[in-house]
């Protein structure tokens, strides 16, 4: 019941059993933000920190974040590292293969703005937001696992405010 407490709902005992009263928005958002499946996909240095975050010490699983290899199964894509021009077209394709609703976290300075490669990187895309929309930017080179977790919690907060009637961006 622990996680259910986070769902802003009204639970009442009725004759036919327990009945839960909540709005559709809240139920949808609650289920979405507690099972954000991420892409099993790493780009560069940040991927190692992402691995460290999903391994036992920091344990991403407790947020319901499970890595899946196929883009058809996933909700969030973590751009964990430098996006090169050669890779950029592939990332765009992966993004388009993901089913809605989908979210993107840009992890690390490279994915945010080119990072240390901003000036002379003739083969580096200066920010992944030039090809796909980004929901949360996590700064750092590389961000610590705690920073990545903070980014994921920020994304959860964002999902919590979404509405079926009006898509909040």
């Amino acid at each position: 019941m622990g996680i259910l407490n986070k769902l802003d709902a009204h639970i009442e005992p009725f004759e036919s059993g327990n009945i839960l009263i909540t709005s559709a928005d809240k139920l949808l958002n609650w289920s979405r933000l507690n099972s954000m499946w991420q892409m099993f996909f790493g780009l560069a240095c940040c991927a190692i920190e992402m691995m460290a975050t999903s391994a036992s010490h920091y344990d991403l699983d407790r947020f319901g974040i499970i890595p899946r290899p196929s883009p058809r199964h996933i909700d969030i894509i973590l751009i964990s590292g430098t996006v090169t021009l050669k890779m950029a077209t592939r990332i765009k394709r992966l993004w388009e293969q993901m089913p809605e609703p989908k979210y993107c976290i840009s992890m690390g300075s490279c994915a945010n703005c080119g990072g240390p490669y901003w000036e002379h990187g003739y083969h580096v895309l200066k920010g992944v937001d030039r090809i796909i929309p980004v929901d949360v930017y996590v700064p750092g080179c590389p961000p610590r696992p705690e920073a990545l977790l903070e980014g994921l919690i920020k994304l959860q907060e964002k999902i919590r405010t979404q509405s079926l009637a009006k898509k909040v961006n």
Binding site: A44, E49, M51, A55, S56, T84, Y117, H120, Y122
Partner: protein, 372 residues
């Protein structure tokens, strides 16, 4: 039954694939499940390292070397600073050499733990990965108390270190060694001698010794084929000649000499050897300064140097050309993974698709190092 030929199929593996260890793309030509050709495509992480070097000053290059092979940053830095010190003719204080050796060996442990963990992951065993990463966190803790960073350190500077080790460092390292020793046995029980794992890796991806040398193999990949060659012993740099350690080589215990299991096992044995080196070094760190006299503006004389060291992946070499100015004229990084990966084609022909994954994992490639 007459031999049936199936239609050739071309299968694309990567750049987004969980077992290519990053953004590598392999184009497999298959006949049924048998691989008849592999065409590797690299460059999906080409971050223009060499161009950056030409625009930076010599000390500014160090953070970029960190980002080449990002799971063993310390060793990357070591190779570069050794090259620069040769070019400048700088003698480094002994305290620095000791700390460098300890750091490099700790980094070797961290890097091999990732190699072993992800290799188990490739074979379908997820548990060893979690165990290895949990152990690796303990190594990162040691780095963190020293230089504040978990992954990319910028710790070795030309002529010394960025700063001294903290006062409780030796104590912490000893605690770690005590904690780590039983972990090797645990890994062996969990993965190395697991029947399924041996079936997956023995007699797969056999690398003959003469081809290994000809194709430029290095590191555990070379030693897995039974060649006793380690730059730490054969061309000692820093103060490695002061320490007593063995060079583990593949012996073909579970299959043919030079198969994936041999390469894997070399890494396990290297963990033990690294522990040995750290144990010898940790109590003997002399007192002293951690920075030699280096001019503020590093300006090496006209000349060139090729410095190579033994990183966890193999021989990492920097070919540095100086034209006497503040910026390097040219820096070429000879990356170990680059040379090892170039053999994938010869090693996967005739095996199954699943075996290609195992062969690839046994090289322990890091794409940042390959593409630079």
């Amino acid at each position: 039954m007459a031999e049936i030929r199936t239609e050739e199929m071309i299968l694309n593996m990567g750049p987004q694939h969980p077992s290519t260890h990053g953004v590598l793309r392999l184009q497999l030509t298959l006949e049924g499940e048998i691989v008849i050709d592999v065409k590797p495509y690299i460059g999906y992480l080409h971050r223009c390292f060499e161009k950056h070097c030409e625009a930076m000053t010599y000390p500014q290059v160090i953070p970029y070397t960190d980002r080449m092979d990002y799971v063993n940053s310390m060793s990357n830095e070591l190779s570069y600073v050794i090259g620069m010190e040769k070019l400048l003719g700088i003698e480094v204080p002994e305290r620095v050499e000791y700390i460098r050796v300890i750091m490099s060996e700790l980094q070797r442990i961290a890097s091999h733990l990732i190699a072993i963990g992800t290799y188990g992951n490739d074979a379908g065993a997820f548990t060893p990965f979690l165990y290895c990463m949990a152990t690796r966190e303990r190594v990162l803790e040691l780095f963190e108390i020293t230089c504040g960073a978990r992954l990319l350190y910028n710790y070795f500077w030309i002529g010394g270190l960025s700063h001294d080790i903290p006062s409780n460092f030796q104590q912490k390292v000893k605690e770690f060694i005590k904690f780590f020793k039983p972990k090797i046995t645990e890994l062996n029980n969990l993965l190395s001698f697991n029947k399924i794992f041996i079936e997956r890796t023995a007699n797969i991806g056999i690398l003959p010794a003469d081809y290994a040398i000809n194709a430029g193999a290095c590191g555990p990949t070379l030693r897995g084929s039974g060649i006793k060659f380690d730059l730490r012993k054969n061309e000692p740099y820093s103060i490695y000649n002061k320490f007593d350690f063995d060079i583990p080589i593949g012996q073909g215990l579970k299959g043919t000499l030079g198969d994936c299991w041999d390469r894997y096992m070399v890494r396990i044995h290297e963990l033990e050897e690294s522990v040995k080196i750290i144990e010898q070094a940790i109590d003997n760190i002399p007192e002293g300064d951690v920075q030699a006299q280096v001019p503020k503006r590093v300006k090496p004389p006209v000349g060139e140097v090729y410095a190579r060291t033994e990183t966890p992946k193999g021989e990492l070499g920097y070919y540095i050309i100086s034209d006497g100015s503040l910026n390097p004229f040219r820096i070429k990084a000879r990356s170990p993974s680059f040379c090892n990966l170039s053999m994938i084609r010869a090693l996967s022909k005739g095996y199954m698709i699943a075996d290609v994954v195992m062969t690839l994992g046994s090289f322990d490639i890091v794409l940042g190092c390959i593409d630079r």
